[in-house]
Structure formats: C-alpha cells, structure tokens
C-alpha cells in the first residue's frame, strides 16, 4: 500500500498533522496502537502556562519570543511563533467544522477549574469551560451553583468547595450546592454509584433524560446564574446538548473537568478523528508499527504488527507516538530507546539523573525532557547520527521540553504536528495542490 504520508500515532499531534495533510489533498493514513492520551487530558489546550521558575504566565504570546530565545532546542523554537499561532487557529477552525466551539481570551491565558477545586492556566478551552459570556458572568460575581451527579465518584463537591475559597475569585462568593438525582432516570437495576463520566454524558444525549436533568438543575440551582457541573454534558452531541440545557434552565452552564475518563478530552479526540475521515484520511486503529526500512537517510516503508509481510510505503512519514506513557519512548534498567526506528535520543545515561528526589519538586523531573533529537525541520537522526530526511517527529516524544512544568503539552503537540505537515506539504508541492475547503 502506498500513501503520500503515513503518520504513526493517533494522538493530538498525529491527528492535527493528518488533518493538515489531508486538507492539502495528500493521501494520508494514521496508524494508532491504542487509546489516545486525550482520554486522560483536561480537554483544554495549554500553550505556555508557567515560566521556568514556576510563575504563572498570563500572556503566552508576548512571552514566546523571549522563551524561544532562551530555549533554542525547544520544539517551539523549531516551529517559530508564526507557525505556533497558525497551528492553533487551524486547530480551532477544524474542530469548529465539527461544531465544537473553542474559545480563548484573545492573546492571553484564562483559567479552568480542576477536579480538586484549584485553578490552572490554559490557552484554549471548549466554550462550556471558557467563553466571553462565562468570563463576564464570573467577573460580575454572579451567583453560582455547584452541582454533581448522584453516585458519581470522579467529582466531589466537598473537595472542590473546600479548595475554592483559596482563590480570590471565589473567596467571598456564596455557592449553592446540590446533587442531581439519577436514580429516577434509570430503568435497569443499575446503581448510579457504578456510573462513570461516559455513562452520564450519554444520559444527557437522550431527550427525555435531558429534560429531567434540566428540571432537577433548575430546582437545585436556586438563584444561581452560573451552574458548575462535572464535565459530562453530552459527548458526541455536546454542542446541541449544551445549548439546549442552557435554554431549558435559563442559566450559564460551566463544565469542570473530572478525573479520567475525561469527556472533555474524549470530545476533542472524537471530533479530530471525524474531521480526519471527512477529509478522506484513513485511520487504522489497533495496529502497531514495529519497524521500517531506512536507507541513505530515507525511510521507504514500515511494517506493522498486523501487516508484517505487506509493508506500507509513503513519500513522507511522521512519528507521533507519544512519550513513555504512550509507549513512544521506552525506558529500561540499562537505558532508554525509541522502539520503532531506534532513533537517536537526548537523555541522561545515568539512571540517577532521570528523576527528582521529590515527586512535586519545583524543577520537575528531568525524564520529562528526554526524547527524540531532531533538526530544525523536525527530522530525527538514526542511531548512527544521520538525519532521516522524510521522517518527521511531533508531539510528546520530542526532546527538549517539559510539557507539565511549562504547561505546554497541547501547544507543542499541535504546533509540531502542524509544522511536520507543513514541511511534508512543502516537499510535496509539485504533486499535491492545496485544497481550500
């Protein structure tokens, strides 16, 4: 089988790369081995949330030029500001094509609440988490209700409520609390204590349940104009469910991320995949790339677990297989490796230098910055140090950045995925004409 581009990894970096390639008219496939890390993510896109000393960054775009100067090996430095900005607009547009509204606070970060009741800075959120209307309502200190669902174990009002007063925004705010009953909605003998976020989100997508839930919310929320709910307000049909619920209750609905599985992240995952298919991309799920043929600095074909004897060929390849968590990088007693192509890595050889003494040490853990070395175009190097010209790397397997400490995971995934696609499109220019849709 022959493609214009093959992407290894179906996470956010691989998907945005695939969508960009497919939108440019390239015949493209994504091979994904398992569940995307988006299922565990907040569903908001962090661009640059914290400075190296841990301070919160409010204006990431104004900070980027200095940041890039300071860290020339950072993936952001390779993409450059223009590509970063372009990639985020592209991402927002493509997701909106799937009727999922994303909002940001102009060039600035905004904050989203966590399951623990703390606030964390981010750049791009779904409209149920951040929107100009919500922003206005919060600054005008309108009354808020905080509701959860009967038996739901991945969101606890007492915990959120105990932590909220630590933020000035919530300090002197009266918060009405209550629990939306689910038992009346269940026809089977199921105990609502067994429900996970996904079960509840599906209940929202059934009209008669939605009406019932809206009624309960209305009763419980009193004179609260903003209603905070664990993020279960519909999954695939979220957009429709969200505006119906706001209309039915006459209140602003505010979603707060839950413990995994994260519906907010799963929505992104779902809509990115649909968009990719809509543009003609081929998504192969449940297969694992196990190796490829590299000759004189070019990768010509790859083999997968299910297609070991029929190699997949392409002009360009992207490796977006994630970090250790997703299996894109592997650590062993004796060292680290990139398991598919044995690419050159940047990491400390001595295992003692992999992690910090404390779990929550301010400097964070060095292993988070380990990963695949690339040149400016995101081409990696083989084990002998030779660059592979038609292979690009994107997302969490890249070296040189700490997604958690910096609050840059989503931003790096999107910008490097997009940048890899741009480089492929450029190299492919005579063949693939840009499609404008």
């Amino acid at each position: 089988m022959k493609f214009d581009s093959i992407i290894v990894g179906g996470g956010i970096a691989g998907l945005i790369c695939g969508i960009r390639c497919a939108a440019a008219g390239l015949k493209c496939t994504i091979i994904s081995s398992g569940m995307s890390a988006l299922h565990f993510a907040s569903g908001s896109i962090d661009l640059l949330g914290r400075s190296p000393n841990g301070d919160i960054i409010y204006d990431p775009f104004s900070q980027l030029p200095t940041f890039i100067d300071q860290y020339p090996q950072h993936p952001y430095a390779k993409c450059g500001e223009t590509v970063i900005a372009e990639s985020l607009s592209f991402f927002t547009r493509e997701i909106e094509e799937q009727s999922l509204q994303l909002c940001h606070n102009e060039q600035n970060n905004h904050f989203h609440l966590t399951t623990f009741g703390t606030l964390t800075p981010t750049y791009l959120s779904q409209q149920s988490v951040y929107s100009p209307e919500l922003d206005r309502a919060f600054t005008e200190s309108r009354k808020m209700a905080l509701l959860d669902f009967e038996g739901f174990r991945d969101f606890h009002i007492p915990l959120v409520k105990a932590n909220l007063p630590q933020h000035t925004l919530f300090k002197n705010r009266e918060i009405i609390t209550g629990t939306v009953p689910l038992t009346p909605l269940i026809e089977s003998l199921k105990n609502p204590h067994e429900f996970r976020s996904i079960d509840i989100s599906r209940m929202f997508e059934t009209e008669k349940h939605l009406l019932q839930i809206a009624k309960s919310i209305d009763q419980l929320a009193g004179d609260g104009e903003i209603v905070g709910l664990p993020a279960c307000v519909g999954f695939i049909k979220h957009n429709e469910v969200y505006s119906r619920l706001q209309k039915l209750t006459g209140r602003l609905i505010y979603e707060i991320p839950t413990l995994p599985p994260s519906i907010l992240g799963m929505r992104l995952d779902h809509h990115l995949k649909s968009r990719f298919s809509e543009l003609g991309g081929v998504f192969i799920a449940g297969d694992k790339v196990i190796g490829g043929k590299i000759q004189s600095g070019r990768l010509s074909e790859i083999y997968t677990q299910n297609h070991e004897s029929t190699p997949l060929q392409a002009d360009a390849f992207v490796l977006a297989s994630g970090s250790f968590f997703s299996g894109g990088l592997i650590s062993e007693f004796s060292g680290m490796k990139e398991p598919v192509f044995d690419l050159a890595l940047s990491y400390e050889k001595d295992r003692k230098d992999w992690a910090a003494d404390q779990f929550f040490q301010a400097e964070s853990h060095p292993y988070l910055e380990f990963g695949v070395k690339t040149n400016e175009q995101l081409n990696p190097f083989d084990s002998s140090g030779q660059p592979i010209d038609n292979l690009y790397c994107a997302g969490a397997l890249l070296a040189g950045y700490n997604p958690i400490r910096e609050g840059s995971g989503g931003g790096v995934a999107i910008s490097t995925g997009y940048y890899a696609a741009e480089n492929i499109i450029k190299a492919n220019a005579p063949i693939g004409a840009e499609r404008h849709d």
């Binding site: 565990f40 907040s42 914290r50 841990g54 301070d55 919160i56 409010y58 905004h110 904050f111 966590t114 399951t115 623990f116 009741g117 703390t118 606030l119 964390t120 800075p121 951040y130 922003d135 919060f138 038996g151 174990r153 606890h156 007492p158 915990l159 409520k161 105990a162 932590n163 909220l164 007063p165 630590q166 933020h167 000035t168 925004l169 003998l189 105990n191 204590h193 067994e194 413990l259 995994p260 970090s323 250790f324 968590f325 299996g327 592997i330 650590s331 062993e332 007693f333 295992r351 992999w354 992690a355 003494d357 404390q358 779990f359 929550f360 964070s364 853990h365 292993y367 988070l368 958690i404």
Partner: protein
Amino acid sequence: MKKFDTNVIVIGGGATGAGTFRDCLMRGIPAVLIEKNDLASGTTGRNHGLLHSGARYAIKDPASALECIAENRILKKVASHCIEDTGGLFVALEDDDPAYGDQLLTACKKTGIECGEISRQQALQIEPNLNPEVIRAFTVPDATIDPFRLVSANVLDARERGGQVFTHTHVDKIETNSEGVTGVLCCDRSTGQKFEIRGKIVVNASGVWGEKVCQTAGIEMKMFPSKGSLIIFDYRVNRVVVNACRMPADADIFVPGDTVSLIGTTSRKIAYDEIDTIDVDEEEIATLLAGAERLVPNVSKTRLLRAYCGVRPLIALDKKADGRDISRGIVLFDHEERDGLQGLLSIVGGKLMTYRLMAEKTTDLICQKLNITAQCQTHTTPLPGSEKRRGGKINRKRFKGISDSVISSTQYRHGERVHQILQQDQQSDELICECEMVTAGEVKYALKHLNVKDIVDLRRRTRLGMGPCQGALCACRATSFFVELNHTTGEKAHQMLIDFLEERWKGVKPILWGDALREAEFSYWIHQSLIPSKKVSSGDQ
C-alpha cells in the same frame, strides 16, 4: 496542659507495642498506646510479611526456630484473616551445597518443624515459575502474614476493650521522680498540642527508636541498626514462599502476598543517626534483582512496583558500645534491675513472627509488678476478624448484587468484619480504588474505627493506592472522604494528597524504569495539573 491517668503506657505502634497493648487490655489492665507516626509504619511494616516456619533458623539458631514454629501454629489460628497459609519451599540450585539440605532436614526434625524432601517435578508443580534448574527441594510450613492488618486488628481489639490510642503523637519525655517513672509528656504532631499521660508502668516498644526513648529518661540502651531492603513485583509471581536452600544471605526469600510478590532482603549496618533517612540504593537493587532471578528466572522483566527498606532493631545485651554482644532474639529489659529506674520496661529485638510472645512476656512482667494474676489469653483468643477460619464460607446471599471479587477482597482484609463494611448503604459498595477493590464502605469503616488520620494511614488499613496505579486515580477520591467525614480543610486536603504521593514516590524512585516510569509519568501529569505547585492567587478567569 491536658493530663490524664492510666496504668500502662505503651510507646510504639508496631506489632510488639500493639500486641502488648492488647494483652494488657485482655488482662483487664487499663492502657494507652502512643505512636509517633502511624500504626505499623516502622520496622513492622517494612519486612517480607513472612510467617516463618522456623526452618530458616533451624540449623544455626534452634531456640529461635522453636519460638517460630510455636508462634506459627498459634498465629495461624488466632490471626487467620491476616495470614495466608501458602506453605513454603527450600530450593537448592546447582551452585548451592547439596549437603545443606541434609542439615536442614535433621535440624527441622530436632525442632519439630515439618520438613520433607520432594522431587524436582513436584517442586515445579507446586511452583511453576521456579527455576527449572532446581536440584533439591523441601517443603516447610511457611506462610505469609500481613503486618498492617495484624497490628490494626490488635489495636482494634484493645480499643474495643477500652484502650486508648494516640497515633501521630510523639513522646517528648518519660517523666520520673525519685521513686521511678510517673508518666510521659506527649505532643500531638498534627496540632502541636502537648499533653501528659500519667501511669505506673511505661513500656518502651519502639524498636530501633527505643534508644532515643530511653534517652529521655536518662538511660542508655544502645541499638545496632541494620538496614534491610526489598523489592515488590506487581504480580503474584509465586504461589508459595520460596527460600534459597543455603546459609542465610542477601535476597534469598521470595514471598507472595496479597496481589504482589516480594524479594528480600539485604543486610547493611547503618549509623544510628541514619535510621530515619535511609533509602534503597542502586547496589541493593542489583543484588535483589539478581537474587530474584536466581529463584524465578526472568522475573526482573515483569513490572516492578516499588522498593523499600526497614531497620532491624538489633540490640547490645551488655552496656558496652562496641556491639560485640548483639542479640537477634527477644530482649526484655526491666530498667529497675538494669538501671535502677522503677516502672520502665523495654521490649526489643525479636521478629514480627514472635510479636505475640514478646507481648506475652512483657505483660507477664507488668502483671508481676502490678500484682495482677490474670493469665495471658492471646494464644487462644482470635483477633477481631479472625473468629472464623480464613476463607471460611461466607453467606453471599447477604451481599446480593456485589461482585465476588469485592466481597472476597474485603473479607480477605477484614475477615468477619466484612459484615460491618459492605452493603451499609447505596454508596458503600462503590469502588474507590479499583486496583485493590477498596469500596467507599471500607474507606468509611477505616476512617471511623481504625485510627486513620491521613491517606497514608488509610493505605495501610485498606491497601488503597498499593496496586499498579500507586494511587494515581484513587488518591484524589480518597481525599474527598477526609473532607466530607473528618472536615479536613481544603489546604490540609491539599497537603495530605501531596504527602501521600511523595510517600508513594519514595518507593517508586529506586526502580524508576519500564512500566513504573510510565505509571509515574501518568500520575505526575494528573496530579501536577490537579494541584499546581504554586497556587493561583489572582482572580482571573
């Protein structure tokens, strides 16, 4: 300052202290237990969890072997819910001296420990993961014991008999007057509040920390701490206890326990001022993995869960500081005889295995001093939860709608007390820790009855956070129970979660590669976003 009176003050919430505390209450002697940290948080909770048959000691130390086999038989009856009667093997490989096996057989016969040789095939049938190169194999009545459950059950029983417990409470000073001991001055470590407990007898059962406790009464009791390290594998690799059939050495015992298996131990002398700061080092990890590989080939390729270490409380029998006369046996000091201080006893040395016997000896001496004639009954009265034989049939009809795995896990940990945990209300069967099947009911029961002050304590009572995810998903859920039931403030809940994850990290860091690193990355990612290191103080939204 608050003051109150009792008869006996036991210092140290390990197995020995908890056992002595219970024995006192069972003989009708009012007593309190004081522990500076949590129950079973010191040496007691940092060993193999091996219920020795005594075979390990039979050749070199027959007296210890006799104690072990006697206690082994008693504990299997009275602490059945803390014990899994797995049985054990001694296996000799090519490079072991085959004659050691004959010595073992003779020594076991002399000490009355059931030991018999079996064929290589039989050994592999009992233990399929065993090194196939085994040349000789012997069965012994080894078993496994959960030290956390054991201590918790002793304390629970004592409390139900009216005993009072102060965990996270430090003894600042043993108070004396011209006649002897008058009590102790304590400090509640969570509030900083000082208080005084007056009593006739103070029992120092604080193991290796006993040297410090004695110092507060001006008495010198020299300890010779020895560090022992272990590694936990994330699977129950072996079915029975596997011992290397040779003279005791590093990494020669492989013990299954709950959902995991452990290899241990090492033995390194350490300086006394290091007892609170020790870590497992690289060399120990290598030694332990090599030892494990020898008994169960390829085991180091399975996921490692954690590594941890404890300090053996070895004690000098004489007052000289050179440590020449060190004992590994049970040592009971009457400081009236030894140092002229009336009312202070120190119970040191010994093993987890012999905790009950140590408690019996200590309580006998207390009775003698207080002129009480009550006899010890701990060898016949089962611990709460152990009233029925382990795995005794349970009326599943009473737990309709709950999965067998939840019923069995709960019964496994709490024995007969399962009836106070499951099906209390609609919420009680909700799973909080999926790895170890800990329900909301179990969390609530532990918070109410088992002296739980924080999530680390909760882990010791329930196994919450001990499984493959090491608390990545359940820690936050557990925190909310403290807020809800104990009215823990947001800030304290925050700190509690951090402390718990830091404690988990301490065990993960020495084996941070492979799946352990993957899991750590996941947990870090989740928690760093939940609880940002620097709080957001601005009101932006």
